[in-house]
C-alpha cells in the first residue's frame, strides 16, 4: 500500500520545506554560536533572506517542471506539485521575505531582536508550503500545526508587552481549539473514506447519498476549523486582538501568509474532497462570506487604531475571497489567486507604513498619528494612497482585479444579490480607507508630530510593494496569466 522508500523525487517535492527548515535550524545555531557574539543581529535576517532566495529558485524550478510536464507528486502521493501549489509557494516566498525585511528595524527598535524570530518565520513558511501542496489529511494537518505553532510564538514575541502576551495567549487557545475541530472533521472524513488521501476522500464523498449527514458533519467541523484560520465571522474575534498585540511585521505575516495558506488548504479540501457535495456547502460559504463582509466592513468603520482597522479590513477581505470559492468557477478561482497576490503587496505595504510610524521612540498606531504627514513626508503619503486605494479595490490598483474577477464569477453563476452586496461593501470599505488617506492631508497636527522611522529595509519593502501594487494594477497581463495557471488544477 505504501511505498516506504524515500526517493529523489520525494526529496524534490519536499525541497521548499526542507530548505526552509535547514535555514531555520541554521539560524538557530549560527545565532547561538556566532551572531550573538558579534551583536549584529541583522545577519540572521540576511541568512533568512538567502534561504528565501534559494526557496524562490526551487519554486521556480517547480514552476518550470509543472509547465513542462504537468503536475507531479511524491511521498506516495501525499504531496502534489501543481500550478496551484506553486502559485501559493510564490506567495509564501514573497510574504516570508517581506516579513524578514520589515522585522529587522522593528524588532531592533522594540529591543526583541533575536535569531529565533527569523527561524520561526522560516518554520511557519515550511508549514505553509506543505499546506498548499499537501494532498493527504495527516500531512496537511501537521503542516497546519507547524505554521500555527510558529505563529503562536511569534505573536507573543514582544515579551515585555502585555498586549503581545495577551494576543499570543488568545491566539493559542482559540487556535488550538479550532485545530482540534479540524482534526475532528478530518477523522470523520477518514471514517467515510478509510483513507487520508484527498482523492480517495473525494471519491468516497461522491458515493455517499445526497445530503448525507456524516458528510455534513465533517463539513461543518472542518469548515469551522478553517473559518477560524481565515478569520471568517463569527470566528474572527482573535484577529483584531492578535494584530494589535503582535509585532507589526508578524501581524502582516499572519494576515497575509497564514490566510493565504489556509485558503489554499480550504480550496483543496472543498473542491477536491467535498467537490461532489457542493450544493450543501455553497449556501454555508455564501452565508459566512456575507456575514464576514458585513461585520468586517462595518466594524472597521469606527476603529481609530490602524492595526485594528486593518484587522477588520482583513476580515472583510476574507469574506470577498470566500465569495470566489462560492462561485467556484474559473473566474472566481482566478479572482482568489489574483486577490491574494495583490493582497501580499498592499497589505504588507499598509502594515509597513504603520511599522514606520514612531513617536518618541514609541510605536504610533492611531489614525490621528498620520495627521499632517502629507506636508512632511509626501512620498509616504503617496504610498498610503496607493495601498489604501488598492485595498479598497479601486482601479487602477492591483486590488481591483481580485474583486472584479470574483464579481464576474458570482454574476456568471447567477449570484446577483451576493455580487451587489459585495459591490456595495466596497463603498463602505472606501469610507474607512479614505479616512486614512484623508488623515494624511489634514493640517493642524502640530501638537504631535509623528516621526518616520524608515530603515533601508522598510524603504525597499515599501517602495517595492507600492510599485508592484501599481504595476499589477496597470499591467495585470502577466500576473493574471500566472493566476490563471494556478486555477487549472483546482478545476480539473
Amino acid at each position: 500500500m505504501m511505498d516506504l522508500v524515500f526517493t529523489a523525487n520525494d526529496f524534490h517535492v519536499l525541497k521548499p520545506a526542507v530548505v526552509l527548515c535547514l535555514f531555520g535550524c541554521g539560524i538557530l545555531l549560527s545565532d547561538a554560536f556566532l551572531v550573538r557574539r558579534t551583536g549584529k543581529r541583522w545577519l540572521n535576517a540576511v541568512t533568512a533572506l538567502v534561504g528565501e532566495a534559494i526557496v524562490a529558485l526551487v519554486v521556480l524550478q517547480h514552476l518550470s517542471d509543472v509547465r513542462a510536464g504537468g503536475a507531479f507528486s511524491g511521498l506516495s502521493g501525499s504531496i502534489v506539485i501543481d500550478g496551484f501549489g506553486v502559485f501559493f509557494n510564490i506567495i509564501f516566498v514573497l510574504s516570508g521575505a517581506l516579513a524578514v525585511i520589515l522585522s529587522v528595524r522593528y524588532m531592533e527598535a522594540e529591543g526583541e531582536h533575536r535569531g529565533e524570530y527569523y527561524a520561526l518565520v522560516l518554520f511557519a513558511q515550511a508549514g505553509m508550503s506543505i499546506m498548499a501542496t499537501g494532498n493527504d489529511l495527516v500531512v496537511l494537518f501537521v503542516a497546519l500545526e507547524t505554521m500555527a505553532l510558529s505563529f503562536y510564538v511569534m505573536v507573543g514575541f514582544l515579551r515585555r508587552s502585555k498586549r503581545s502576551n495577551e494576543a499570543a495567549m488568545k491566539y493559542l487557545i482559540l487556535g488550538a481549539f479550532s485545530s482540534g475541530l479540524l482534526a475532528y472533521g478530518f477523522s470523520i472524513l477518514y471514517g467515510i473514506a478509510g483513507s487520508t488521501s484527498i482523492e480517495a476522500i473525494g471519491t468516497a464523498v461522491a458515493e455517499r447519498p445526497d445530503g448525507d449527514w456524516v458528510t455534513t458533519l465533517a463539513l461543518i467541523t472542518t469548515s469551522v476549523g478553517l473559518f477560524f484560520k481565515i478569520s471568517a465571522v463569527p470566528f474572527h474575534m482573535w484577529a483584531p486582538d492578535v494584530y494589535e498585540g503582535a509585532p507589526t511585521p508578524t501581524a502582516a505575516y499572519v494576515s497575509v501568509a497564514s490566510k493565504a495558506a489556509s485558503f489554499a488548504l480550504m480550496i483543496r479540501i472543498f473542491l477536491s474532497a467535498y467537490g461532489s457535495a457542493a450544493e450543501s456547502w455553497m449556501p454555508l460559504l455564501a452565508g459566512i462570506a456575507l456575514i464576514t463582509m458585513t461585520v468586517g466592513n462595518l466594524a472597521a468603520v469606527t476603529q481609530s487604531n490602524l492595526k485594528r482597522l486593518l484587522a477588520y479590513s482583513s476580515v472583510a477581505h476574507a469574506g470577498y475571497i470566500l465569495l470566489g470559492l462560492v462561485a467556484a468557477n474559473d473566474a472566481g478561482l482566478r479572482g482568489i489567486a489574483i486577490y491574494i497576490l495583490a493582497y501580499v503587496f498592499m497589505n504588507y505595504g499598509a502594515f509597513a507604513l504603520i511599522a514606520a510610524l514612531r513617536r518618541d521612540g514609541e510605536a504610533a498606531e492611531e489614525i490621528d498619528d498620520l495627521n499632517g504627514l502629507a506636508g512632511r513626508a509626501p512620498g509616504y503619503t503617496i504610498l498610503v494612497a496607493i495601498f489604501m486605494l488598492s485595498l479598497a479595490g479601486i482601479p487602477p490598483m492591483a486590488g481591483f482585479y481580485g474583486k472584479y474577477y470574483i464579481f464576474l464569477g458570482l454574476l456568471r453563476e447567477g449570484y446577483y444579490v451576493l455580487a451587489v452586496f459585495a459591490a456595495l461593501y466596497v463603498a463602505v470599505a472606501a469610507y474607512y480607507y479614505f479616512r486614512i488617506i484623508r488623515a494624511c492631508w489634514l493640517t493642524g497636527s502640530g501638537d504631535k508630530p509623528a516621526a518616520l522611522d524608515l530603515g533601508l529595509g522598510t524603504r525597499v519593502a515599501l517602495v517595492g510593494s507600492g510599485v508592484l501594487t501599481v504595476v499589477i494594477g496597470v499591467l495585470p497581463q502577466r500576473f493574471l496569466a500566472l493566476a490563471g495557471e494556478s486555477v487549472l488544477l483546482a478545476l480539473r
Binding site: 518554520f123 488568545k170 469551522v224 469610507y431 495585470p476
Partner: protein, 780 residues
C-alpha cells in the same frame, strides 16, 4: 483667500495650452465625424477579460470631448487667477488636469470596463478637489459624501456592466451598438437596468441621490464650475445617452428615466428659488438641468418610429446649451465672491459699475439660461417643448418641463439681477472687477451661446445632430432654426418667461411658501445619508462592545455556541437523532467511573481555588483513561494517562504563578445561566454526534491492514506505536521537530532577561484590563 501681491506661477498659465490644444485637435475631427466616420484607436490591455484600451470618437463622444476641453480651457485659465496666492496651487492644477483627462477617458472609451476605470478616476479626483480646502470640515464631509454616494453607485454600475457584457457577448460599446442582441428580452434585463441606473443616477445626482451635489459646492469655485456643473455630473447623462440604443426603448427604461428626471427637475428648480447662496442656487439649477437631460433621454415619443427622435435631440441640445451658460455663471459667482467677499444674495447688490465685464458675461449667460431669443437657450427650450408635447406622456411631461423652466427663469434673474442691479449695501468693502482671466472665459462662452442661437443650423449639423444620432441609434432628420413661427412651443415659451418674471417679482412670497413646504419633508437625502452612516457606526460600536470585548471567555462562548447550534441543527434537520438500538451492558465499575467523572467536572466548575480545579480536571481525564482500560484499549489508556498527568503538572505550574481568581471576572446571574446553557447544548450535541457516529458502519480496511502488517513489517505488536513511528514516521518526525523548535523558541523567550528599559515598563503599564475593546470614534 486672495493675495493680490502673489504671483501667478507660470505653469498654471501654460497648462491652459493642454486643453486648448486638445480642443483644437477634437475640433479638427468634427467634419469627418459629422460625415458619419467615427474615429477608433485600440491598444491591447487585458485580453483575458476581453478588455482593450479602446477609444472611439463618434458624435456623442466628440460633443462631450469638445465641451470638456473647451470649458476646461477657460476653467484652467480662471483657476490660475482664482487660486492666486493659495498654497499648493500646483497640486490643485494637477488634480484638475487629471480630472479632465479621466473625464475624456469616460466619454471616449469604447470598452465598458475601461469606461468604469475612468469613471472611478473622476470620482477620485472629484474627492480630492472637493476636499481641497481640507481645513474646512464641511468640505471634508462633502468630499467623503460624494465619494461614498457616487462610488457605491459606480460599483453597482460595474456589476451592471458585467451583466451587460455577458449578455451582449462583448464589452465593446461599438460591437454592442452594432449588434442586434435583444437585451430587452434578456432574463437579467431588469437587474442590468437597475444597476446601471444606480451608477448614472448617483453620478448625475438624480433624486433621491441628489444631495451630494449641493454639498459639493464646498469645493473651490473653479471645481464647482467644471466638475459639478459642466462635466463630471454629466457623466451619468452621458452614460444613459450612450446606452440608450442598447438598453432603451422599453417601458421600464422610459418610465424610470422620465419619472426620476422630471421629478428631479421640478423639485430642484423649486429648491433653487429658496436658496440665498449664489453657488447653492446654481447647484440646484444644475440638478434641474441634469433632471431634464435624464428625462428627455428616456422620454418615449408617441409618433411613428420613422419620425424624428426628438427626445434625443432635445437632451443633447440641452447638454450643450447648459454647459455654455452654467460655466460662466459659476465663474462669475466666484468672481463676485472674490471681490465682494460674499456669495449671499441678501448682502449683494449694485455691482454693475464695479464689475462691467462680469455683468456682461453673466447677462449673456442668464439670457440663454432663461431661454430668451435669440440665444441658444431659446432654441434648446423650443425643442424640449416640442419633444414633450409629442411624447407619450404629453400633458404631464409638458407641464413638468414648463414649470421647471419657469422657475429657472426666476432663478436666472436671482443670480444676475440681484447682485448686479439694485442697491449696493453700504457696509461692504468696495468691490472691484477681477483680472482678465476671471471674466474672459465667461464672456467667450456667453457669446458662443448667442452665436449658437443665431446660427443654430451650424451647431446642429456639425455637432448636435451627429450626437443625437448616436443617442437615438439612427440619424435624425431635423431642421434647426431660431424661428419656427407662432406655434404651441412658442406660446409655452412666452408663458414660461412671463411666469418666471412673475415669480421673480413675487419672490419673497413664493420663497416663503416653497421654503415652508420643503421644510415639511420628513426625510431628505442628506439626513438619510447621515442616518445610514451613523447607523453603520452604531452597528460597529455595538459589535465591538458585544463581540469584540477583548475577553477570551466571550470569544470561546461565541465559537462554542455557533458550533453547537450548527451541528445540532444539522442533526435535527437530517433526522439522525436516535437512541442506539442496542445498548451494551454497563458494569458497576463503569457507573462508578461515570459518577466520578461527572462529580469532578462539577468540582472544576464550582471550585474557587485554581489548584482544586486543575486537580479535579485531572480526575476527569484519569477517569476517561480508566474507561479506555476497561475496554481493553490499554495503549490509548496509557497515552491518555500520560497526557493527563503532564497537563495537570504543567497547567498547575503556570496557573499557580498567577494571582487568585478576582471577584470581578467571575460570572454572575444571567451570564452564568447563559454559559451553562451553551455548555449543556455543546455537551448534548457531542453526545448525540457520538451516538450517531457509532451507529454508522465504519471502514475496516486500514484497521485490518495495520493489524496484518504491524508485526511483519513494523516489528511491533502495539499497532498505534507502529503507525506513529513506522508507517507514518515522517509525519511524526515533522510534528516532533515542530514542537521541539517551538519549544526552543518559547524557552528563549522565557529565559531571555535583558535590561528592562523604562519604555517597556511604561508600555506595559499603559494597557489595563479588557484592552481589546476599541475606542469608538465619532464620525466626521
Amino acid at each position: 483667500m486672495e493675495k493680490a501681491s502673489a504671483r501667478v506661477p507660470l505653469y498654471s498659465r501654460l497648462v491652459v495650452a493642454l486643453p486648448a490644444g486638445l480642443f483644437v485637435w477634437f475640433a479638427s475631427m468634427v467634419p469627418s465625424v459629422a460625415g458619419g466616420e467615427a474615429q477608433f484607436a485600440s491598444i491591447g490591455w487585458l485580453p483575458q477579460l476581453g478588455v482593450d484600451l479602446a477609444f472611439h470618437v463618434d458624435g456623442l463622444g466628440l460633443l462631450f470631448a469638445l465641451l470638456i476641453t473647451g470649458v476646461g480651457t477657460f476653467i484652467l485659465l480662471y483657476a490660475s487667477e482664482y487660486m492666486r496666492g493659495h498654497p499648493q496651487v500646483g497640486r490643485f492644477t494637477a488634480f484638475l488636469v487629471a480630472f479632465m483627462l479621466s473625464m475624456l477617458g469616460v466619454v471616449l472609451s469604447d470598452n465598458l470596463i475601461v469606461l468604469f476605470v475612468f469613471w472611478e478616476l473622476t470620482t477620485l479626483t472629484s474627492f480630492l478637489l472637493i476636499g481641497y480646502s481640507h481645513g474646512d470640515s464641511a468640505a471634508r464631509r462633502a468630499a467623503l459624501q460624494s465619494l461614498i454616494v457616487t462610488g457605491a453607485g459606480a460599483l453597482a454600475m460595474l456589476a451592471g456592466f458585467v451583466l451587460l457584457g455577458n449578455a451582449a457577448g462583448s464589452y465593446s460599446l461599438r460591437e454592442m451598438l452594432a449588434g442586434d442582441s435583444d437585451l430587452a428580452g434578456h432574463p437579467a434585463y431588469v437587474a442590468m437596468l437597475v444597476l446601471v441606473l444606480a451608477g448614472a443616477f448617483t453620478k448625475s445626482a438624480q433624486f433621491p441621490f441628489h444631495f451630494w451635489l449641493p454639498n459639493a459646492m464646498a469645493a473651490p469655485t473653479p471645481v464647482s464650475a467644471y466638475l459639478h456643473s459642466a462635466t463630471m455630473v454629466k457623466a451619468g447623462v452621458f452614460l444613459l445617452a450612450r446606452l440608450n440604443p442598447v438598453l432603451g426603448g422599453t417601458d421600464e427604461w422610459g418610465m424610470t428615466l422620465t419619472g426620476f428626471g422630471a421629478f428631479t427637475a421640478v423639485y430642484s428648480a423649486a429648491v433653487a428659488l429658496t436658496r440665498t447662496d449664489l453657488k447653492q442656487i446654481l447647484a440646484y439649477t444644475t440638478l434641474m438641468a441634469l433632471g431634464v437631460c435624464v428625462m428627455f433621454i428616456g422620454l418615449p415619443q408617441s409618433r411613428g418610429a420613422d419620425e424624428v427622435p426628438l427626445g434625443a435631440v432635445a437632451a443633447v441640445a440641452f447638454v450643450f446649451v447648459h454647459a455654455l451658460y452654467k460655466a460662466p455663471l459659476f465663474m462669475v459667482a466666484g468672481t463676485i465672491d472674490h471681490s465682494a467677499g460674499t456669495r449671499d444674495i441678501r448682502s449683494l447688490g449694485g455691482l454693475r459699475k464695479a464689475m462691467p465685464w462680469s455683468l456682461l458675461a453673466a447677462a449673456l449667460a442668464a439670457l440663454s439660461m432663461s431661454g430668451v431669443p435669440p440665444f441658444a437657450g431659446f432654441v434648446g427650450k423650443e425643442i424640449l417643448y416640442s419633444s414633450a408635447i409629442g411624447s407619450t406622456y404629453g400633458v404631464a411631461a409638458t407641464a413638468a418641463i414648463v414649470t421647471a423652466n419657469a422657475m429657472i427663469v426666476s432663478a436666472a434673474l436671482l443670480v444676475v439681477a440681484v447682485p448686479f442691479l439694485g442697491q449696493s449695501p453700504a457696509t461692504r468693502p468696495t468691490p472691484h472687477e477681477g483680472r482678465w482671466p476671471m471674466w474672459i472665459g465667461s464672456l467667450v462662452l456667453g457669446v458662443a451661446a448667442l452665436g449658437a442661437g443665431l446660427f443654430p443650423r451650424l451647431a446642429f449639423e456639425w455637432l448636435l445632430l451627429p450626437a443625437a444620432g448616436a443617442v437615438a441609434g439612427r440619424q435624425p432628420h431635423f431642421e434647426a432654426s431660431l424661428w419656427h413661427g407662432f406655434n404651441l412651443p412658442f406660446a409655452l415659451s412666452v408663458v414660461t418667461l412671463s411666469a418666471g418674471a412673475l415669480a421673480y417679482w413675487q419672490r419673497n412670497r413664493l420663497t416663503g411658501a416653497l421654503g415652508s413646504a420643503l421644510a415639511r419633508l420628513p426625510v431628505t437625502g442628506d439626513s438619510a445619508y447621515d442616518w445610514l452612516m451613523n447607523g453603520i457606526a452604531r452597528v460597529s460600536v455595538v459589535h465591538t462592545r458585544i463581540v469584540q470585548c477583548g475577553i477570551q471567555r466571550r470569544y470561546l462562548l461565541i465559537v462554542f455556541a455557533t458550533l453547537g447550534a450548527s451541528v445540532l441543527t444539522t442533526l435535527v434537520v437530517k433526522g439522525v437523532i436516535a437512541w442506539p438500538a442496542r445498548i451494551p451492558d454497563v458494569s458497576f465499575v463503569e457507573w462508578l467511573l461515570a459518577i466520578l467523572i461527572a462529580a469532578s467536572a462539577l468540582v472544576t466548575i464550582r471550585s474557587h481555588s485554581r489548584l482544586m480545579a486543575i486537580v479535579a480536571l485531572g480526575v476527569v481525564g484519569t477517569g476517561i483513561a480508566l474507561i479506555f482500560l476497561l475496554h481493553g484499549a490499554s495503549d490509548v489508556a496509557m497515552t491518555q494517562l500520560m497526557v493527563e498527568t503532564l497537563v495537570v503538572v504543567i497547567v498547575a505550574m503556570v496557573l499557580l504563578k498567577l494571582p487568585g481568581f478576582r471577584r470581578e471576572v467571575r460570572q454572575t446571574g444571567l451570564g452564568r445561566w447563559r454559559d451553562a446553557i451553551v455548555s449543556c447544548v455543546v455537551g448534548l450535541t457531542t453526545t448525540l454526534v457520538l451516538l450517531a457516529v457509532t451507529a454508522e458502519p465504519s471502514h475496516r480496511r486500514l484497521t485490518e491492514y495495520f493489524q496484518k502488517t504491524a508485526v511483519p513489517e513494523g516489528f511491533g505488536a502495539n499497532v498505534v506505536n507502529v503507525i506513529l513511528v513506522d508507517f507514518r514516521g515522517l509525519d511524526t518526525l515533522g510534528e516532533i521537530s515542530v514542537l521541539a523548535l517551538a519549544a526552543v523558541s518559547a524557552y528563549t523567550l522565557i529565559n531571555w532577561r535583558p535590561r528592562r528599559s523604562a519604555r517597556a515598563a511604561a508600555r506595559s503599564k499603559a494597557f489595563p484590563e479588557a484592552e481589546g475593546a476599541a475606542k469608538p470614534e465619532t464620525l466626521s
